[in-house]
């Protein structure tokens, strides 16, 4: 009796099991068909001195992905999934991460970080493997203008050559400067901007660069360089450098009691510029692509609200560090998703073609994008999209 019961029990459980297995298999194939997630790669400095920039980009991507997934994903219900790798601001590490994301994780697109050298290292691989590479911070001109045809590299960020145009325009319009003097960091970034500024100067009749001075990362006192510019009659200082030496420049300027306005590239916005530069930190006006201060467009209101909810330490715009990273990444993610939808595919070549010919305008944080890219232009933002800001204490406030 007991034995019989056992047998029947066995039989029924085997039946249930096989039924559920069939069901499982059925649903699994269904899943793979409709809702296989689309992997989006992100390679940036997530540790080290520039870690804040990587975190800011991550937030922008995550907010955009949350929105897209909440609406049911793209391409008939496929959700987006972020896969991140830390490049430690090191080009070889960035390249290894890109290989891994492309060949192992099979990402549909890669987003980049703050470092131009890392971006430049990934560009050839992205073009060879036909994977769209979206730069959302690094401003080096050669990232998007890389000579490849077709070119899989796009950017929603500032571009050095265009920033240089803007810096000179701003110096003359805002401060009536006629004779700007350049203070540049002595490295490839400073050099590329020197070329850009000199070229921009040729096209701008209102200003005439009177002197070009360079300094090192470890320079303590830049009074000699500044005195040279002053003696040559400079009436404004154009600054291209990252935070610590930029702060040294401000201290030297303060020490010699020079009041000439400072117009800076955005290098000084990562790090503790107000603390390091001291009393005159507010005299430096610098480029950004976006600010969460002031009146926001509907997208801005929505993103700010979502940020406060997702990141409780964000109470208001003043708590958003490195806002350009978040804003650029947010807009870029939406543009890529829209391109995939338009292409009806995540295949690199089709997404690239769609990005170059986006049909629908997209109302983003920075602006409304109307055909932001074309076959010849892979930079979505230009001088008209840049805004000028300055620090007021820890806050970044617009000056235009």
């Amino acid at each position: 009796m007991f034995r019989q019961r056992l047998a029947s029990l066995n039989l029924s459980s085997v039946r249930t099991l096989s039924l559920s297995l069939v069901a499982c298999a059925f649903f699994a194939t269904q899943n793979a068909f409709a809702a296989d997630p689309i992997k989006i790669g992100h390679i940036a400095a997530l540790s080290g001195a520039s870690a804040q920039s990587g975190e800011a980009i991550t937030r922008g991507l995550a907010l955009a992905i949350d929105e897209i997934n909440a609406k049911g994903g793209i391409l008939g219900g496929r959700k987006l999934e972020l896969v991140q790798r830390d490049d430690e601001s090191n080009p070889p590490k960035g390249l290894i991460a890109a290989r891994e994301l492309i060949f192992k994780e099979k990402v549909a697109a890669i987003f980049g970080g703050i470092d131009t050298p890392v971006g430049l290292a990934i560009v050839p691989l992205a073009n060879k493997e036909k994977v769209p590479f979206m730069a959302v911070w690094a401003a080096g001109t050669g990232i998007t203008r890389n000579g490849a045809k077709p070119n899989y590299v796009f950017r929603v960020s500032a571009v050095d050559v265009l920033v240089d145009v803007k810096l000179l325009q701003y110096a003359s319009k805002k401060f009536g400067s006629k004779k700007p003097g350049l203070m540049l960091i002595n490295n490839p970034w400073g050099e590329s901007n020197e070329k850009g500024l000199v070229a921009a100067d040729k096209d701008n009749a209102a200003v005439e660069i009177v002197g070009i001075e360079k300094f090192e990362n470890a320079d303590v006192d830049m009074v000699p360089q500044l005195t040279r510019l002053k003696e040559k009659g400079a009436d404004s200082i154009i600054l291209v450098v990252n935070t610590p030496p930029g702060a040294q420049m401000m201290k030297s300027r303060e020490r010699m009691g020079w009041k000439a306005p400072v117009i800076s590239h955005w290098g000084i916005s990562g790090g503790r510029f107000p603390e390091l530069a001291g009393a005159t930190h507010g005299d430096a006006h610098f480029v950004q692509t976006y600010s969460f201060f002031g009146k926001l467009n509907p997208t801005g209101e929505r993103v700010l609200a979502a940020m406060k909810k997702k990141y409780p330490q964000v109470k208001g715009p003043e708590d958003i560090f490195a806002p350009v990273g978040t804003a650029n990444a947010y807009d870029a993610m939406h543009l890529v998703a829209q391109a995939m939808e338009q292409a009806g595919s995540t295949e690199g070549d089709k997404v690239r073609a769609a990005l170059e010919d986006l049909k629908q305008p997209y109302q983003g944080l920075i602006k409304t994008y109307n055909r932001p890219f074309s076959a010849d232009n892979h930079d979505a933002l230009g001088p008209d999209d840049y805004i000028m800001v300055r620090y007021e204490g820890e806050k970044i406030v617009p000056t235009e």
């Binding site: 001075e213 360089q225 005195t227 001291g278």
Partner: protein, 291 residues
């Protein structure tokens, strides 16, 4: 204007190099060894002072005193760990060991203090300025050369005039004879390394308000200070301080007159030329080898 402002800058930076170079001088004078981690010791002074004063909120006098004391202790540790074991066995590996211990210190600071450079808040020393002939000079810019020259004068007097100072010099001339005369050679050498750490600490705390504080702030200073020590003639206290001033003023003048592109090229080329002409440095005497 260009020349006079370059002079002010050069004297300030030059005194800083001189202070650090004095640290090389004191240990070399008593033991023929130096602490190549002098740059990192300077960084340690600035980092500790910032941590005690700003991060922990202790009174500034206590922060400065404690930071200096710890720099002196650190100097003694360097001697015990990275110099003595090698010298005792007649090896020159302390050259590498002191460089290595400096790198270790920098990385420990990187790990604990953080990668983010920090800035000292403004004080009376940096905010108040005096104007001489249209040139604005910060109080700190006056204080640094005064400290440098004052310490050089003190060291000079100590070595030449005091009994203990003479004992120190005796150690380097003939260690065994000095020991026979009842001089505690080991203690003298540790003392010299502690003093050298203290000098680096003073330099670090003086430069901190003018500079940004980070684990790598001392590296270039250390290299330049060593160049200055050799240029001045490492066995002369006055020599290294004056060489520091010459180096600093040359740097600032070259930047001011030729442009910053040429600063490093010309200053270091000048050092090489000077040493080719005067191999013992500007103020050094050649050592007499007695047979």
């Amino acid at each position: 204007m260009l020349v006079s402002s370059a002079l002010i800058t050069g004297i300030g930076l030059g005194s800083m190099y001189g202070l650090l170079a004095l640290g090389f001088h004191v240990t070399y004078a008593v033991s023929n060894t130096v602490n190549f981690a002098q740059g990192s010791t300077m960084m340690l002074g600035a980092v500790l002072c910032f941590t005690f004063w700003i991060t922990l909120g202790w009174p500034v006098w206590l922060a400065v005193a404690l930071a200096l004391a710890l720099c002196a202790v650190w100097g003694a540790i360097v001697e015990r760990v990275a110099v003595r074991p090698f010298v005792q066995r007649g090896s020159n590996s302390w050259l590498m060991a002191t460089v290595a211990i400096g790198i270790v210190l920098e990385n420990v600071v990187l790990f604990t203090f953080g990668k983010d450079p920090r800035g000292m808040p403004p004080t009376l020393l940096t905010t108040s300025t005096i104007t001489i002939a249209g040139l604005r000079i910060q109080l700190l810019q006056l204080l640094i050369p005064i400290a440098g020259l004052g310490i050089a004068a003190g060291l000079h007097a100590f070595f030449r005039l005091s009994r203990y100072g003479k004992a120190l010099l005796a150690v380097v001339q003939n260690t065994s004879a000095a020991r026979l005369m009842g001089i505690n050679v080991e203690r003298v050498i540790v003392g010299a390394f502690a003093l050298s750490g203290l000098l680096a600490g003073i330099a670090g705390i003086l430069v901190a308000p003018l500079f940004t504080i980070s684990s790598t702030m001392g590296t270039l200073f250390g290299i330049k200070a060593f160049a200055v020590a050799i240029l001045g003639g490492i066995n002369s206290a006055w020599g290294v301080v004056v060489a520091g001033l010459i180096f600093g003023i040359a740097e600032a003048m070259i930047t001011g007159l030729l442009g910053s592109t040429y600063t490093q090229i010309v200053t270091f080329a000048l050092v090489i030329v000077a040493l080719a002409v005067m191999p013992n440095g500007l103020f050094g005497r050649s050592e007499v080898k007695k047979v």
